[in-house]
Amino acid sequence: MIRAENLFKTFDDHEVIRGISSEFLKGKTNLIIGRSGAGKTVLLKLLVGLISPTSGSVWYDNVDFFSLDKKQKRFIRMKVGMLFQASALFDSMTVEENIRFPLDMFTNMTKKEKLSRVDYCLDRVNLPGINKKYPSEISGGMQKRVGIARAIVMQPEYLFCDEPNSGLDPKTAIVIDELIRSITLENNITTVINTHDMNSVMEIGDNIILIHEGVIAWRGDKAEVLRSDNQILQNFIFASPFLQHLREAALERQNELTLRMDKK
């Protein structure tokens, strides 16, 4: 579990994160949602330790991350995997070298063991046999999956995903969502996803927080999204008239079903 306690982050005079406290649960897909510029990415970078908070703390289980020295932080980071918005695969390396990089850097595994681990991870993301390809030779969706393979190669306990669906078509986005969810459940890890993809919210949102102007405006799960009357949430999730119409239809259907059940 990861816990943020009263996090504040200020850049010059601009306060981006204003007192966020939240728990990100183990074995769940925890979603951070919000409009562009709301502070989602800053919050994710604070959680992962890429930037330090102005005040507040981030706890990995029972360890206060920002109170650790460099060596201890490195130890925690070896338990962290991250998928970046643009995948962040090293262009000069093949897919295999990209995935193998953390193994080469931090483990004493033999070459054979490393290759078998790479093959397992590629199989896990349904991309067997592309070991020798370069990132520029594969599609955006495949790059994301290779990014996931690299993120899980060290068997992390915490997985962070920064907008995993950005730039992908809806079908591929669903594949990525399902993959992240199944990896989370399979390994019982703490997954934190930063997204503004509504499909993700409705499909894999086990624990959702909505960030608005640097504070948590709403929290709940995917089942509560439809029923919530929080205006900020509704304006965000059902931003277009089409989506509003869908929501009304869904609520009507829900009411009908409830009435029928009551009559029976």
Binding site: L50, R77, M82, F84, M105
Partner: protein, 213 residues
């Protein structure tokens, strides 16, 4: 204000270099990266360094031949002047100026691109010491390779001086060789290498600092 900014950046620069000197996570990864950088910086710069060195020597020889024409200074001094000006000043300075443009901009582009594409963030999250892995191999490679390039540049410059003066009849083969072999001070070679090491350190670490911090 300017001085405090200088101190601020100098302090951060020292921190970056200090962090970079930490014990590598895996020595063979750093070795591999250093070899790659040696190839990029050394082999990749051979042609431009060679080309410029020929002209440095040639221009020095022709210019001094023109200046000394009709004076009482012996002609073989042209060889001596070409050798010493090349070794003491022109080879290290001009070569490193050219390399500052080529290697410095390559490093700035490489690390800047990695920063923009979140490669550096990815490495930091993995636990890699980015100052160590991205900066130190470049610095070590340049400190090893650039003095070699400078020595080569000095040699090629002297050849350039010969090619511009002997075949054109400015002085004879014997005079040029006599000049090159006269009044040799070994300390100058040491000076050339010290200069090239200092330049190598600056021209790789400053662009790296600009992008990695």
């Amino acid at each position: 204000m300017l001085f405090s900014r200088f101190l601020y950046h100098f302090g951060r620069y020292l921190i970056m270099m200090g962090t970079g000197l930490a014990r590598p996570e895996k020595g063979h990864m750093y070795y591999k990266e250093t070899m790659r950088q040696m190839n990029d910086i050394g082999i990749g710069s051979l042609i431009i360094v060679g080309l410029i060195s020929i002209f440095i020597g040639a221009v020095t020889a022709v210019q001094f031949a023109y200046q000394l024409d009709g004076t009482l200074v012996p002609q073989y001094y042209i060889g001596y002047i070409v050798r010493d000006s090349t070794i003491i000043e022109l080879a290290p300075t001009i070569t490193c100026l050219v390399l500052a443009g080529k290697v410095g901009s390559n490093i700035a582009a490489e690390i800047g691109g990695m920063r923009q594409k979140e490669h550096i963030d990815a490495m930091e999250i993995m636990g890699v010491n980015t100052s160590g892995y991205l900066v130190m191999p470049k610095v070590v490679a340049s400190i090893v390779v650039i003095p070699m390039l400078v020595a080569l540049a000095a040699f090629i410059s002297i050849i350039g001086g010969y090619a511009a003066s002997v075949p054109t009849g400015l002085l004879s083969h014997v005079e040029f060789v006599q000049g090159v072999r006269s009044f040799f001070v070994e300390r100058n070679i040491m000076l050339m290498f010290i200069k090239s090491v200092v330049f190598a350190l600056i021209l790789t670490s400053v662009p790296a600092y600009q992008d990695i911090t």
